[in-house]
Amino acid sequence: MSVITFDPTRVPTFQVAAKDLLGDSQLRKNVRHATGVIQNKRAIVVGEMPDWQELRESGRQIKKHTLEHLDYYLEQFERNCTAAGGHVHWARDAADARAIAIDLVRQSGSDEVIKIKSMTTEEIGLNTALEAVGLNAYETDLAELIIQLGHDLPSHIVVPALHKNRQQIREIFMREMNLPNLGEAPQDLAEAARTFLREKFLRVKTGVSGANFLIAETGGVVVTESEGNGRMCLTLPETLITIAGIEKVIPRFQDLEVFLQLLPRSATGERMNPYNSIWTGVHESDGPRAFHVILMDNSRTNVLADEEARQTLYCIRCAACQNVCPVYRQTGGHAYGSVYAGPIGAILTPQLLQLEHGQSLPYASSLCGACYEVCPVKINIPEVLIHLRHKVVEQDTKGIGVLNPENLAMKTMAMIFRSETRFRAAQRLGRMGEAPLVNKEGWVTWLPGLLGGWTQVRDLHSMPKQTFREWFEERGKA
């Protein structure tokens, strides 16, 4: 089974990728429809919670506190998980995590694994790495299965195949499962997936998962899901390997009270996740014989070190920001060139990749604030976007960068705004300068250079003969 992943060294900028995707009318229809449905479901179940704002604040505070004492809680988790019979491994980066995981799979004696939907394993391209050394990974989450069988990339954090509709999914199943007579009713598709997966659940001896939460106080790990396929992967295999970002730790079991309310309502518009699995180490005659958890940094400590961007790590991967984002709604997730798409991806990806490949992402937002409004842990995404834009500007205007046209324009404008006299002069000059561009009806329909983006589809009315301040002064004299 061939696997593809986002290659950060080769993905195009957001602008370039978005331009292509905007031409895909099927994709845009699918994304508009699906995000609309989830958004409405979320609005209903959030609306019925009288203490939603207090819950959001609690979620934020728990995350804030934990991250400020991350070393303490991670070590506490390690102690308690180990005491319960689990094995804890530490991974500095993605390569580390992949190497440890490959080793553990080999040690388990299996050459294949069944996987629970996991963003962390997507982030590190685990399936590609496993395949490269002759180990097969089978995605068992329905949407992930569709992506894997379709040789596609995930476009959404919770619903990775959100950009596909039922007919497209049917075609993938017919082709990849060799089912020429497959019907197109949801039951037909679910039955096909069930038959396909059941054989894997019963055969494969090693499972790989991510984690929604790690509980420091007990050493327990939490996975929430809607299908029950995750529960199969957590209970049937002999060896279970969990890969989790270090920001997934929470202090107490009791804290789940907050997050297990915030997460399902925000993510899928459900009051409660149908399957909430919590396991602690290993137990005789119940569940896997061996349990390993890989705690992965992969740039998270860099994010943590940046005080203004730190809140990015509060994210519980609910994707509410993706569903509500007017930019994501137009382009879908692939434009973001990362498994983390949408507003959270626009702030997380450039930080995980140290801004090198993600420079266009902080600008992939109109700063409308819809993401912040729905975020269950109150990540002020617009603020972090602006902070990251500042870092991009600092990087881009170094050395020869001072000569880039945007920088020159911004510096000139700033110089003008610092003096009322210069501002007046610029207003007069602007009127003269635009004259050749103004048509007979008094409109500008073409602009040069950077400003040309405006006149692609928009006109601009010409500057009035008199500014407001000129009018106000004239009036005072009369």
């Binding site: 331009k19 109109s366 500007v393 404008m413 329909t445 009315h461 500014t467 407001f468």
Partner: protein, 243 residues
């Protein structure tokens, strides 16, 4: 009340009629409007694009110009959001204790135009007459940062002769986003297309808002497509009094 008008750089240059309308409405209500001459720009464009160092002096300039004002009125929701959301933090960055205190003292006296009428002056009916079919676009900053709520709709609802039509997808961004419209022109256009479609569905003659930057964006497409639908700042509707 003596109200100091911060017209904002783009209204001053591109939308003087909005400023005139603000003056007309406030004077009609018996208030005095003054215009501090040294004002220029709030710094929003620089700040939001990532040019932080360039925005800081504009904060100091604004404070110097308006710190003694009884009340400040700004006919632009995004500029007011810029001040409320960022000025306190920016003053901290500059690190001048005097400036920090001045910002803290000044901000509660800064009002977006519709807010000044509804929240500060407690008005809904400002005695306007405007016999046209109108739809209202809730600009993102007005909606989510200033929490204007139904204030603008109440003002519009009290205008004599007006036929007010609700806009579908009221909470959706029009796709302007300052430099976003240029840096991501294609995505911005796609967002704008949805907004314009919603405006046209209302069969309104005019689309209004509390922010000319959104309106300039919407107008740009309405005009390019020769729809005949115009845009007009809320203040210009409230200034209508040819009864």
């Amino acid at each position: 009340l003596q109200v100091a008008l911060f017209i904002t750089c783009y209204n001053d240059t591109l939308f003087p009629e909005t400023g005139k309308a603000v003056v007309r409405v406030l004077e009609r209500l018996g208030h005095t409007v003054v215009f501090p001459a040294g004002q220029t720009c709030c710094g929003q464009m620089h700040w939001n694009t990532g040019y932080q160092a360039e925005a800081l002096p504009l904060l100091s300039r604004f404070v110097a110009q308006f710190k003694d004002a009884e009340a400040v009125v700004v006919p632009s929701s995004s500029c007011v959001a810029m001040m409320r959301d960022h000025y306190p933090m920016m003053a901290e960055q500059i690190g001048d204790p005097g400036l920090i205190a001045e910002v803290a003292a000044l901000l509660p006296r800064v009002w977006e135009f519709s807010e000044l009428l509804t929240k500060k002056l407690g008005l809904e009916d400002v005695g306007a007459y405007f016999p046209h079919r109108v739809t209202y676009h809730a600009s993102c900053h007005g909606l989510r940062s200033l929490h204007l709520g139904d204030g603008p709709m109440k003002l519009l609802g009290s205008v004599r002769g007006i036929q007010l039509v609700p806009l579908a997808g009221l909470e959706q961004c029009c796709g302007f986003g300052g430099t976003f419209a240029i840096k991501n022109a294609e995505v911005s256009s796609a967002m704008l297309a949805e907004k314009v479609q919603a405006v046209l569905q209302t069969q309104a003659e005019l689309c209004t808002a509390c922010d000319n930057s959104c309106l300039m964006h919407i107008e740009g497409s309405l005009h390019r497509q020769r729809t005949g639908v115009r845009t007009l700042h809320l203040a210009e509707i409230l200034a209508g009094d040819a009864e």
